[in-house]
């Protein structure tokens, strides 16, 4: 509270003070109003509507008929939904297990050996993160396309027939991993620069002391840097998990969820059921599931991390 506030609230009464209070209230109101209007129209009202529509049978322009939890029952009975749900969890798991350690290693090396190459290298690592997902998908297909793609044509060039004939995006066993590889390529840049910023905030004395004690870079990374990154790593894990719930752009453009349901995600199912089949009720139910799961995962991961920190 500033001195001005105290002056206003400290002494009640007085016409001057009341006029000032009124002005202050009007200013506060007018400042918050625009943000509120935007959110009311495009967020609060649609959130309420999503819950409501999810309990109705609502096809295209047809009327909305209340059917209770029928849409949710349909979801649980649908193979597509279960495939999407499974991919959310496998995607979240592998992105935490693969992308975060990779990002930590790169971030640590970049900041530990900072020389005149590491600055440009850092910029290159972040480049793929800035590309719009449509372009990432385009480049992903360029790399993994059958016959003429970058990998296939290189394999043929050096005479590796077994690799040249692989259809990464068309083979149900490989499609998920091909999309995952493209996502790793595109999205690891952010954890790298984020962890780097955190590492560079650490006091220099820690490193000097470690070097005086003869600690190797590996030992320094493991025993001093890593324990200090508990909070940022937790945030990144939450981002990975919530990101996998919302996963849509890359698999939709690279494989449209296929072949079969090999790269199906909740986002793709929402889009197809809602905006290709015009089954609004079912799509809204998927929206509710995405929302609830993201709240649940955020809360769970933050609280687990917090508890561990208390013990340590």
């Amino acid at each position: 509270m500033s001195a001005h506030d105290i002056e206003n609230h400290g002494r009640g009464g007085g016409r001057k003070t009341r006029a000032r209070d009124w002005k202050r209230g009007a200013f506060v109101f007018l400042c918050v109003l625009p943000a509120f209007l935007f959110l009311a129209v495009f967020l609060y009202y649609p959130i309420e509507e999503t819950f409501r529509i999810s309990t109705t049978k609502s096809l295209g322009l047809g009327p909305e008929i209340y059917i209770g939890l029928e849409n949710y029952r349909r979801l649980l009975a649908s193979q597509e939904f279960l495939a999407g749900l499974l991919h959310v969890f496998t995607w979240a798991f592998w992105s935490v297990v693969i992308q975060l350690p990779l990002a930590f290693a790169v971030a640590f090396l970049l900041s530990y050996y900072s020389n005149r190459f590491t600055g440009p290298l850092k910029s290159i690592f972040y480049l793929a993160n800035v590309l719009p997902s449509a372009i990432t998908a385009m480049l992903g297909k360029f790399v993994f396309a059958p016959n003429y793609g970058m990998i296939a044509s290189f394999a043929k060039h050096i005479g590796w027939k077994w690799l040249g004939g692989v259809d990464f995006l068309g083979d149900p066993r490989l499609a998920f991993w091909a999309v995952f590889a493209v996502a790793t390529w595109a999205y690891t840049g952010f954890p790298i620069i984020y962890l780097m910023a955190r590492i560079e905030q650490m006091p220099k004395e820690l490193r000097e002391a470690a070097e005086l004690d003869g600690a190797s870079p590996w030992r320094y990374a493991r025993s001093i840097v890593l324990p200090d990154l508990g909070y940022p790593l937790r945030i990144l894990a939450v981002l990975c998990t919530v990101g996998s719930l919302k996963l849509f752009d890359l698999p939709n453009m690279m494989t449209t969820g296929g072949p079969g349901y090999a790269t199906e995600t909740l986002g793709i199912m929402l889009y197809r059921r809602g905006f290709i089949d015009w089954d609004y009720g079912l799509a809204a139910a998927i929206g509710v599931v995405i929302f609830l799961l993201s709240l649940l995962m955020t809360a769970a991961e933050l609280s687990i991390g917090a508890r561990r920190e208390k013990i340590a």
Binding site: S2, A35, L39, L43, M138, N147, Y280, G287
Partner: protein
């Protein structure tokens, strides 16, 4: 590498080499199309990895016609500017009030807006679309950047709030003593001081709107209004990778604006992303 003096000897050289190889992997998919795009289909199928015999531009002409990135660029620019104009002022005003005028009421309002940060856009797609159809806002560029702004306001409100909190309170008081009212204090003293936050918001809101795919996909159906990313996506659907040289040319054309933007502004972009992420 005689000019390369190391502080850590062999381990530093090894680490830098590993990082350089990784960086090569990162830029390879962006550089390789250059090798493919200038060839005819025939030349490509026999010598995909050789240097092109001559620089053929026909693939670029065809790809350009298919993607029409110029029309897309114009639409994308309008959407990005619209998103900036609709995101920044509401976020700055609300953030300022939440930082400087704390009371029970503003606290409640703060949390009400903060909630928006945790709502995935996908959750509200169905009602958003129905609503826009009802008021004929779908298939307009307004209909695209208005909800974009609404989804961005909570985050930028938080950034502005923590920024205004970090400014010394004496400045506002000095303006007060000089007789400035609430709004004059904000516009003439505080807002100019928040310029770093505003620059970050400008850059990142622009990039966000520039990259959008999901919202445009659902809200736009008129081909003429298609944003850049929608054009790239429909090229992906309509033209296969079988004619790889043309595909590679399209990839170069599509990626070029963003890559150029990044080369010019990468310091700002990285700094902005970090400032947004490290706060709170």
């Amino acid at each position: 590498m005689s000019a390369f003096r190391t502080r850590h000897g062999a381990s530093e050289i090894a680490a830098t080499a590993i990082l350089a190889v990784l960086a090569l992997v990162v830029i390879l998919p962006l550089v390789m199309p250059l090798l493919f795009a200038f060839k005819t289909q025939l030349e490509f199928s026999y010598h995909p990895w050789a240097l092109p015999k001559r620089l053929l531009v026909i693939n670029f002409v065809e790809a350009w016609k298919a993607v029409r990135i110029d029309q897309g660029l114009a639409n994308t620019l309008i959407v990005s500017l619209g998103a900036i104009v609709c995101t920044l002022p509401p976020a700055a005003l609300a953030g300022y009030v939440f930082a400087r005028y704390r009371s029970r009421a503003t606290e409640i309002a703060f949390y009400a807006i903060l909630v928006g940060y945790f709502v995935p856009a996908q959750m509200v797609l169905v009602p958003l679309y129905k609503m826009e159809v009802a008021v004929r806002l779908n298939n307009t560029l307004y209909g695209l950047f208005l909800p974009m702004a609404a989804f961005g306001i909570p985050f930028w409100m938080m950034i502005y709030r923590s920024f205004f909190k970090s400014l010394p309170g004496e400045l506002a008081e000095a303006a007060r003593i000089d007789g400035a009212g609430h709004s004059a204090t904000f516009f003439r003293v505080m807002l100019p001081l928040a310029r770093p936050a505003t620059v970050l918001a400008l850059i990142l809101v622009f990039i966000g709107a520039w990259s959008d795919y999901l919202l445009s996909l659902i809200l736009l159906s008129d081909q003429r209004l298609f944003t850049m990313q929608l054009r790239v996506a429909s090229f992906l659907n309509a033209y296969g990778t079988d004619r790889m040289p043309r595909y590679a040319a399209a990839a170069i054309i599509s990626a070029a604006p963003t890559v150029i933007l990044y080369i010019v502004g990468h310091r700002w972009i990285i700094r902005g992303t970090l400032a947004g992420a490290v706060k709170e």
